[in-house]
């Protein structure tokens, strides 16, 4: 049993535990470890060095933050490696990189949210929320800028359109996507059809959104003639974009449901479809809900496919099977790119950012809803 002595034992582990000068026994388990103050110490050092390094090339908060972060990550990895060995060093490096990645990911999020809030908040008011753009012209915007009166016109019609079109595309793609994922995981196993579907679902992820829109337009043109622009066409276009996300995320989540649970149900004489519906899906529901939310979030912000399928409207339309419809992204898009009054763009810009803020809030609510649904069914933990 001694051919390979590979353990990384503290060097004095075979000696009698030593005594520290104050008489307290030294803990050999904590020997060779950085003291508690090491991390804050290294952080403080990094702050100083980072400040010094960033002043070399003209001080700025950004370079200061970058230098400090890099110095901290590198220094703590090196110091940990020297004191505690390479394994702990690697662990420290990974830990700090993971934290750094999270902070890094927060930067664009905070920046975008800040931009949207800053530019969008002033535009959020009752008028904006409950009025459409019907009848709002450049002349009205010009007047409000010249007279300093409140901006008129709102996003109500676009909110309605977004909700309806998203709802319909969800109604189409969630059942289709989930059933497909179920087919792939539970029925198709690894047969040729399942492989073909898996593969083409992957390919589907790369369809540019506008192509999806053109396809839906062409499809409905074949069925209903060339004038077919309406909410449902947009919903079909968005479904083409949503389905792969729904399939892929659901598929991955179903795959990691332990087989034992399926076996347990089968052994009780439960039919396969009921096993899937009552055992497998609830077990995976949290992940599925995340995936569906993600899929919705992905398409709710689409512009290009809506323009070619649902047209553009200034008025409120609640019928997805007739007339044109605006959604928040198309509203934002046109308010930014072709402002209502080209000479006084501020009202349009304000409306655009306010609409963006609305859209984000809508997705937040949706997200919360999905989480609620998920937690109702999700595996129960604890006692």
């Amino acid at each position: 049993m001694s051919a390979v002595t590979t353990r990384n034992l503290p060097k004095n582990s075979s000696r009698k535990p030593g005594l520290t000068p104050n008489g307290r026994k030294r803990n050999s388990l904590s020997k060779g470890h950085l003291p508690r103050w090491a991390t804050p110490g290294i952080a403080a050092g990094s702050l100083i060095l980072g400040a010094a390094a960033s002043t070399l090339g003209g001080f700025s908060v950004v370079t200061f933050a970058i230098f400090t972060a890099i110095i901290f990550v590198v220094a703590s990895a090196i110091i940990t490696t020297v004191v505690e060995g390479s394994r702990r060093g690697k662990n420290a490096l990974a830990t700090h990189l993971v934290y750094a990645a999270f902070l890094l990911a927060l930067i664009p999020l905070v920046s975008v949210l800040f931009t949207v809030l800053q530019k969008g908040l002033p535009g959020i008011n009752m008028h904006f929320l409950f009025h459409s753009m019907n009848g709002v012209t450049g002349a009205i915007d010009n007047a409000s800028v010249e007279n300093g009166t409140p901006v008129l016109g709102g996003a109500y019609h676009a909110v309605v359109g977004t909700l309806l079109i998203t709802m319909w595309s969800t109604l189409i793609s969630v059942p289709v996507g989930m059933l497909t994922a179920i087919y792939l995981v539970e029925y198709g196993k690894n047969g040729p059809l399942a492989r073909a579907i898996t593969f083409f679902v992957d390919v589907m992820t790369g369809i540019p959104s506008i192509v999806a829109g053109l396809f839906a337009t062409a499809l409905f043109a074949v069925i209903m003639g060339p004038t077919a622009r309406m909410g449902i066409v947009a919903a079909v276009a968005l479904s083409v974009l949503m389905i792969p996300t729904v399939v892929r995320s659901t598929e991955e989540m179903l795959k990691i449901v332990p087989n034992e649970l399926r076996e347990a149900a089968y052994a009780l004489g439960v039919r396969k479809w009921r096993t899937i519906a009552k055992v497998v899906i609830p077990t995976a529901i949290s992940g599925i809900a995340s995936g569906v939310t993600l899929a919705i979030a992905r398409v709710i912000g689409e512009t290009a496919p809506i323009l070619v399928t649902a047209g553009l409207a200034n008025n409120i339309n609640v019928n997805v099977f007739g007339n044109w419809m605006a959604t928040l992204p198309t509203f934002i898009y046109y308010q930014i790119l072709t402002p209502t009054s080209p000479t006084n763009v501020d009202p349009s810009i304000q409306r655009a950012w306010a609409a963006a803020l609305l859209l984000i809030l809508m997705v937040m609510v949706l997200n919360l809803g999905a989480r609620l649904v998920a937690s109702l069914f999700a595996p129960k933990k604890g006692r």
């Binding site: 450049g138 002349a139 010009n142 047209g311 080209p342 763009v345």
Partner: protein, 340 residues
């Protein structure tokens, strides 16, 4: 969508939904027309999708829209193919929206510059790269020109604005501007670019030393170029643009109703501004049912009327049609009939 007019007695009130599609340049004006028309004709609805001129013409020719807005008039073969949806007399174009295209720049302290066509062409061809270039200085005595690099900003999407602008360059500075005229900026002229009028204006506004071309109504605080016409430099304005349209000649060999224009970019008539965009409305000469014909007619007449043109101009900041032009256009629209 339900696009057919549902009712409407001849000559009386019109009702129904009118669907159009096309040039994005007309969007702001169209919102004004839509609001004005719907207010005057209860029970009507106009929907216009600013998909782009090409898309608009395509939708119109396929029967997907009852009228199109287009920065270019229908080509002969398009008129030919329009007979499928419009009957034997086909479709026709009337000018509905005129807007001057400004050559706009961002040079702090400089509000206007006088430039001739060749110099403008050289700047956009990246041959003149500094603002204090002698060619610029020559026509701008007394203006202090900085040693700033010129950043050309052009449209990265295919656009009517680009097409009209380069058509002007090709017509007036042939020796310099030897590129094919198209709505796409020449591929080998690598410089900054952005999407849409608002995009180029935003980029130019953010970049010192930048120059671009854009719809006059949208250039905001940017400086504008006075373009050399004849021996004078014309300051950009709605009136000067209307005058520029006056100089145009009708396109030959077109149907009786058609009012397509050949713009005279190289006009020398002083006071007229030659870099203009004329955007058309494309209608059928006959529609399948009375209600639609009435609706289209009534809408077309309103757009081209004095009131309609004024309404658009206050909203979109463009140039109204001259009285003569609008009268002629209204006459064409009045002759829309129902297919036998």
């Amino acid at each position: 969508g339900t696009d057919a007019a549902t009712s409407g007695s001849a000559g009386g009130a019109v009702t129904g939904t009118l669907t159009g599609s096309g040039a994005s340049s007309q969007k702001s004006a169209m919102e004004a027309w839509k609001a004005g028309f719907e207010a005057a004709n209860a029970g009507t609805m106009v929907q216009y999708s600013p998909d782009g001129s090409g898309a608009g013409r395509k939708a119109f020719l396929a029967g997907g829209a009852q009228f199109a807005g287009s920065d270019a008039y229908l080509k002969d073969e398009e008129i030919e193919s329009s007979k499928e949806v419009c009957g034997p007399d086909g479709a026709f174009n009337v000018p509905a929206y005129v807007s001057p295209i400004a050559v706009a720049f961002n040079l702090p302290g400089v509000e206007t510059l006088n430039l001739d066509a060749a110099t403008i062409a050289k700047i956009f061809k990246l041959e003149i790269t500094k603002w204090n270039d002698p060619a610029i200085a020559a026509t701008n005595e007394g203006v202090s020109l900085p040693d700033t690099a010129i950043t050309v900003v052009h449209r990265n999407d295919e656009s009517g604005t680009t097409e009209n602008f380069v058509e002007y360059l090709a017509a007036t500075a042939k020796d310099v501007w030897d590129y094919e005229v198209s709505g796409d900026w020449p591929k080998d002229l690598a410089s900054e670019n952005a999407k849409g009028t608002s995009g180029v204006v935003a980029t130019t506004t953010a970049t010192e030393g930048a120059i671009t071309y854009a719809d006059f109504s949208a250039v905001g605080d940017l400086g504008t170029v006075n373009v050399k016409v004849g021996d004078d430099f014309t300051k950009i304005s709605a009136d000067a643009a209307a005058k520029g349209v006056e100089a145009a000649t009708p396109v030959k060999d077109r149907g009786a109703l058609d009012m397509s224009l050949d713009l005279k970019r190289d006009t020398t008539e002083s006071g007229s501004y030659p870099i203009i965009l004329v955007s058309y409305h494309v209608f059928c000469s006959t529609y399948k049912d009375q209600a639609t014909a009435d609706l289209v007619k009534s809408f077309g007449e309103y757009v081209l009327s004095d009131a309609g043109q004024k309404e658009a101009a206050t909203s979109a900041g463009n140039a109204p049609l001259s009285a003569k032009m609008s009268a002629a256009a209204i006459k064409s629209v009045e002759q829309i009939t129902v297919a036998k």
